[in-house]
Amino acid sequence: MAKIVRIGQQKRPLANQDIMKPNHPTDRIFREKLGDLPADPPMHLWEGIERRRTPAHRARLLARRYWVAGLLLFLLVGGGLLWGLKNNASDLVSQPLIVSTPVAKSENPVSNNAQTTDTPKSAAEAVTPATDAPEGGRLNEKKDAPTSRAPFFSTKAAREKAGSGANENQTVKTGDHSIFSQKNTKSVHADKSAIEATGVPVAAISEAQKMEMRLDIPARLGVHSAGVTTSDLSKPMVSPLTMAPEVVAKKRSPRLGCPEIEKGKKFNIYLDAIVAPEYARRTLEARSPDHVGYLKARETTEKSRFAASGGLRLSILTKSGLAFRTGLIYSQISEKFDYHIGNAQQITITPIQLPDGTVIMDTTIVFGDRFITTYNRLHLLDIPLIAGYELGYEKWTFSLNGGAFFNFLFRQKGKFLSPDLTPVSFSSGDAGAYPAFRDHVGVSFFGSLSINYALTDKIKWVVEPQFRYFPQSFTRNDYLLDQRYLTAGVNLGLRVQL
C-alpha cells in the first residue's frame, strides 16, 4: 500500500521518473495550498456516524473480530465441561437399595402346601399370616420340639398344613424367592426401621437384621411361600425388590459417562441426516503487489450472500466413547456480483390512436445506469473423515469432533471482473469461460461440538455448531488472486441408530 508523503518531508525515495522530472510548479502550488488545509470539524456529521454504527453493527464487528477466539473458547469450555462432569460423576454412584444376600438351601425343601412337621401349637405360634406380618418378624425357638417357624403362608390351608409337621430345616419358597429358616435360630427382633427404610447401606445392617428383612418382606408383600432351601449362603437371594447394583445406581443417580452400546455388540452404528445454514468468510489476496488494484476492484464488486451444507453421515460409536464418522456432504457458497457498466438509454415506442383515427408513435427515452448483477455459486462435494469423543447423560449426548473433508467435486458458475476490469464469466462446465478456479479444493479441516437429544431409543435430535477451514486457495496458481474460505454454521438434523 502506498504511503502518504507529507508536505515538506520526503519519507520515501522518489521513483526514477519523478526524480528526473522536477516537481511541476502547478502541482506544488495546489499541494501547498490544499494539502493540509484546515477546516472546522463538521460535527453535524457525527450524528450520522452514530446512527449508522448501531449496537447491532458494533456487535457484528466484535463477533467478526473475535469469532475465532470465541469458537476456540466455546470448544475448550465445552470439552472441559464434559471432562469435569465425567470426573465428578463418581461422587454420584449410589449404594444398592436391597442387599443381594445369600440364601441357604434346605436338604428338605418344604412346599407351600405340605410339609412342615411343626406341632399344631408351635405351628400356630409360628404361623404368620401373610397379610399380617408379625412386627419384627420373630422366630420362636423351641428346643424340645422339632419345631421351626413355618414362616409365611398366605392361605389358611397352607397355614394348617404348616402346623402338621416340622422339618428341622425349612425353606419357604415364595415364588422365585427362597427364604432361609434355620432350626434353633434364635429369635431376632428385626429392626422395623431397618426393614422399612430403603437404600440403607449394607454396612449399617447386621447379619441378623438382614435375615429378618429377608424373612419379613415377602410377608408384607403377600407373597406365597413355597419351600425353604438352606445352607448355601453364597447364593444371592432373588427377590422382586433386589436389583442389580449397577441398575439401581443408574436409576437413582444418572451420571455422565460412556455411551451405552447394545448388548452383544462392540459398537453402535448411526446414520446422521444433517443440513446447516452457514456463513462463509472469503479472503482475497493479491499474489503480487502489482495486482492490489485488481483485488480492490473485485472486493468492491462482489459480496457474500449465504452458504449452506447438507448430507448424510455414518457414525461408529465404540464403548469407550470414541466415534468415527464418514459420509457425503454437499456445500454451496453463494456470492453476488454487481457491476456498473455505464449510462444507458431505454427507448420505448408506444402507438397511440387519436380520436380521429390517426395513429401516432409516442417515443419515450429513459436515461439511467446499467448494471450487471449475477449470483455466483460454488458447489462442493466432500467425503468427511472425522473422529470424535462422546459422552452421554440421560437423554443427552455430547461429542467433540475434529477431522478433515476430502473434496472430490468442485463446480463453480458466475461472473466477476477479469484483470483488465471487464466482466467475464467463469464456469467449470465451459471451456471458453475464464479459467480462474481449480478442479478440486483439496483438504479442509473441520471441528464441531455436537449436542444430541434422544427423541426415542433409536432416534436423536442433532444440533452441532461447526466450522470448516480451507487452507488451499480455490483459484489456480496462475490466477492473480488467492481466494480462500472459512465457513461456520450449525448442523441440524436427526441421528438414527441402525
Partner: protein, 179 residues
C-alpha cells in the same frame, strides 16, 4: 488525551474517544474529501463513510507511523471507491480539446483555497482523482496504477489532461474577472 489513549479508547468502542478522534481529524479530512468529491454533499458522504471505516478497522492500527496518516489513507481509499474504475479509463475528453498555452503557475498562486478547490472539483472524475493522488497526496504513477487498477501510462495521461484542463479553467476565470 494522547493519540495512543484515543486509539485504545476507540478499539474499546468508547464513544467519547471516538467523538474526540472525529473532532480532531474530521476537519482536515473533509478538505481531502472535497478535493475528490464533485460537490459538498458528496464530500460529506465520503467523510462519513470513511470515519465509519476508521472506527470499524481501528483495531488493525499497529501504532507504527502517525494515526493521522493512517486515517488519511482510509479517507483517500473511501473516496476512490466512490468512483467506478471505468471513469479513469474511459474519459471522453481529449488533450486536443484544450489550448496548448501553458499558464504561468503564479496565476494559480494568486487564487484562494476556495477557488482552487472549485477548480479541482470541476475536473472530470478520473482527472480529479489522479491529480489529487499525484499532485497533492504524492503517490507515484506506479502506485496510482495499482490503486486504481489502471496502467501507468493511463495515470500519466490523466495527469497531463488534468493540468491542461485546470489551466483552461483558470484562463476562463481570468476572462470573467476582467469583465
Amino acid at each position: 488525551m494522547t493519540e495512543k489513549d484515543l486509539v485504545k479508547g476507540c478499539i474499546r468502542e468508547d464513544r467519547e474517544c471516538q467523538k474526540e478522534v472525529f473532532r480532531r481529524y474530521a476537519g482536515k479530512m473533509l478538505t481531502v474529501c472535497r478535493r475528490y468529491a464533485r460537490h459538498e454533499m458528496e464530500a460529506e458522504d465520503i467523510l462519513q463513510d470513511a470515519f465509519i471505516q476508521v472506527f470499524d478497522k481501528v483495531h488493525t492500527f499497529q501504532f507504527r507511523g502517525s494515526f493521522e496518516g493512517w486515517v488519511r489513507r482510509i479517507v483517500v481509499n473511501t473516496a476512490l471507491k466512490t468512483f467506478q474504475k471505468s471513469a479513469y479509463k474511459k474519459e471522453q475528453i481529449g488533450i486536443e480539446n484544450y489550448p496548448d498555452n501553458p499558464v504561468a503557475p503564479m496565476v494559480f498562486s494568486n487564487l484562494g483555497e476556495a477557488d482552487l478547490l472549485n477548480l479541482v472539483a470541476g475536473l472530470p472524475d478520473g482527472y480529479r482523482v489522479v491529480f489529487n493522488l499525484y499532485a497533492i497526496e504524492g503517490y507515484s504513477h506506479k502506485e496510482i496504477a495499482e490503486l486504481l487498477g489502471i496502467g501507468e501510462s493511463t495515470s500519466r495521461s490523466q495527469l497531463v489532461k488534468a493540468r491542461k484542463m485546470l489551466q483552461s479553467r483558470v484562463l476562463e476565470l481570468q476572462k470573467v474577472a476582467s469583465f
